[in-house]
C-alpha cells in the first residue's frame, strides 16, 4: 500500500514540478492556441507524444555518430521529417482534425519541448530510457493541454463533447451549464491567457506549499 502511495507521489511530483507546460513554460504557443476544445487537445497531444517518442529514439540512436558542431541541425532535420510524416498521416486519416489543428500541426517542429528533450535527455542516454522520457513528457503535455481545454470548453460552451477524430461524427455530447450562463469569452484568446495564468498559479502554489 505504502509503495503504491509512493509511486503515486512520484507521478504527481513529475506531473506538477517537471511539467513541461506549467513548470518549465515550454511549448506554450501551441498549448494556448489549440486548447479551444477537448478534441483538438487530445489530437494535438497524441501527435506531439508520437513525435516526441520517435524523435527521442532516433536522436538516441545517432547520438554517438553526430559531430558536436552540427548536432542542432541534425536533430531539427530528424524532428522535421517526423512531423512531416505525422502531418501527412493525419491529413489522410483524420481530415477534420487536420483542418482544425491547421498550421499548428506543422509548427510542432518548433515546439521547444521536442528539441529540448532531444538536447537535454536523448543525446546523452540510451534508447530505452529516452523512449520512456519522451512518453513521460508527451503524456504530461497532453494532460496539461486537456486541463486547459476542459476548463475553456466547459465555461465557454457549457458542453462536454467528443467527436470521432477519423470521421468527424459526434460520439458524445453533454450539456452541463445552461446556455444562458456560458462565457463565450473563454473560447476566445482572452480565455486562453486567463485559464493558463490561473492554472500556472495553482501549480506554483502547490509547489510552494510542498517546498515549505
Amino acid at each position: 500500500m505504502s509503495e503504491n502511495k509512493e509511486k503515486k507521489s512520484v507521478f504527481m511530483s513529475k506531473l506538477l514540478k517537471e511539467n513541461p507546460v506549467f513548470g518549465l513554460y515550454l511549448g506554450i504557443c501551441s498549448t494556448l492556441a489549440i486548447s479551444t476544445s477537448i478534441n483538438n487537445a487530445i489530437g494535438m497531444g497524441v501527435c506531439v507524444t508520437i513525435v516526441l517518442v520517435l524523435s527521442n529514439i532516433l536522436v538516441s540512436c545517432v547520438r554517438n555518430i553526430t559531430p558536436e558542431d552540427i548536432h542542432i541541425p541534425v536533430y531539427i532535420v530528424i524532428i522535421a521529417s517526423l512531423v512531416t510524416v505525422v502531418s501527412m498521416v493525419v491529413h489522410a486519416f483524420a481530415p477534420t482534425l487536420f483542418s482544425s489543428l491547421g498550421a499548428f500541426l506543422d509548427l510542432i517542429v518548433v515546439n521547444c519541448i521536442i528539441l529540448g528533450r532531444a538536447e537535454a535527455f536523448a543525446s546523452m542516454n540510451p534508447i530505452g530510457p529516452s523512449a520512456k522520457d519522451g512518453l513521460n513528457m508527451g503524456l504530461s503535455y497532453t494532460v496539461s493541454l486537456l486541463a486547459i481545454s476542459l476548463i475553456r470548453q466547459l465555461l465557454g460552451t457549457g458542453m462536454i463533447t467528443w467527436d470521432n477524430p477519423f470521421t468527424g461524427a459526434n460520439v458524445f455530447s453533454l450539456r452541463i451549464i445552461p446556455e444562458t450562463f456560458t462565457l463565450p469569452l473563454m473560447t476566445s484568446q482572452v480565455g486562453a491567457f486567463l485559464t493558463f495564468a490561473c492554472l500556472a498559479a495553482a501549480v506554483a502554489a502547490i509547489n510552494n506549499k510542498e517546498a515549505k
Binding site: L32, V110, A197
Partner: protein, 190 residues
Amino acid sequence: MNLFTLFLSAMLINNIILSKFLGMCPFMGVSTRTSNAFGMGIAVIFVIFGASLLSYALYYLVLVPLELEYMELITFILLIAAFVQLTDMIIKKHSPTLYKQLGIYLPLITTNCAVLYVAMDNITQKYNLIETIVNSIAVPAGFMLMLVIFATIRERLQGNDVPKAFAGNPIAFIIAAIMAIAFTSLSGLV
C-alpha cells in the same frame, strides 16, 4: 487585397502574439526590460523579413518546379536556421556593439515559431511577391509593438505586491489577457 489593409490586419488585428499565440517564448522571456525588448524586436523583424523572402524564392523557384512541395517544412526550417546563423556572423563581424546588445537572443530566434509560421503562411495564403513583402514586415512589426508595450508594463510591475503564487509568469499572462481584450476591439477597424 488592399496592401494597406493587409498591413494593418497582419500587424494589429491578427496580431501574431495576441491572436495567434506564436512567439510566446521570447515574448515571456525577453520582455522583462524595455531595452532588451527593443533589440529583440529589431532582430526578429530582420530575420522574419529575410527568411520569408528566401523561403518564398526557394518554394517557387526550386520546390515547385521539382514537385517537392511536401519537403517545405524540412527545407524552410533548415533555411531559417542557416539564415539566423548567417545574421549572427554578419552582425558579429560588422557591428560588435549591436552584437553585444542582442547577445543570446539572436541564436534563439531559430526556435521562434513566428518565423516558420510567416514563411509558411505566405505560401498557404498564396500571396504574390509584393503581398509577401508587406506581410513579412507587418507581422514582426506587430510582434515588436507587443513586446515593447508588454516590457514597459512588466517593468512597472516589478515593484508591485503580487500574490505569491502569481509572481513571475502567471501575472504576465493575466496582463496578456487584458491586452488581448483591448486588441479584440480593433477588429472593427478593417
